[in-house]
Homo-oligomer: 118 residues x 2
DNA sequence: TGTTCATATGAATATCTATTCATATGATAA
DNA sequence: TTATCATATGAATAGATATTCATATGAACA
């Protein structure tokens, strides 16, 4: 990866700063997990599903109807959210109701809303 | 899109809840922008660049060295961050120093760190 | 116990995007 | 004014992923 360096990497590196920052960086694994979390949030369908669930628990078909998408598309995305443990669900008769399972989500989204609306 | 509905969309929709939630949802455009923001955060290289910049402003080559990646790869990703106005830069001689341009980033990342480390 | 129906899923496709490689750009320093 | 070098960029490629379509699953209810 570093093999195709251009000249500046030989000339202009501030070794002391690089070393200091390297030491302060969170573990690789944590940074990877953070990116994975944001990746889940980085799709407008999932963002819309999450915002729907901020308002009310809902079954798959209601979410699909609300967002004007197919039941299948919503179900696939709910799976992604389930695998990330961002949503939970309960059964009532034949219907399965989905809801958010984490408090951080609201905080993260509030900050994001502030950012994009300022 | 709604044409290929399966039966439940005819049978099991709770029209009142759907209508109420639809009304409360933020505008489409805002939701789209939020997803776009998270999409930028949803890449481990960009997460690492941002975390580097939490510690110190840095030139492209220093970031590349710190993260053990090529100058080109970092430059491409810095462009994405610039276009989203998440980083700013200043020139000093031949060197260009990059830094974060927004306060919300730190808050959003702190929440994300809390989420993944709990 | 069999049927119904809300939900889940597998395969296919189309779109998007991160990195590499090679090279351009353009501000600085001489 | 020219040479240098830190940075930027275009094209190509490989890998990821969102949606669709068709169909499976399995809990509830009769």
């Amino acid at each position: 990866m570093r093999e195709n360096s251009v000249k500046c990497e030989i000339e202009c590196i501030h070794e002391d700063i690089v070393a200091a920052v390297k030491e302060k960086l969170p573990p690789e694994e944590i940074l990877y997990d953070v990116a994975e979390l944001f990746k889940v949030f980085g799709d407008s369908t999932r963002v819309r599903i999450i915002c729907v669930l901020f308002e009310s628990e809902m079954c798959v078909c209601d979410i699909a109807e609300t967002l004007n998408m197919t039941q299948s598309a919503i179900s696939h995305q709910l799976r992604v959210l389930k695998q990330s443990r961002l949503v939970k669900f309960r059964r009532e008769g034949k219907t399965i109701y989905y809801s958010l399972s984490d408090n951080h989500i609201k905080n993260i989204f509030n900050q994001a809303f502030e950012h994009v609306t300022e």
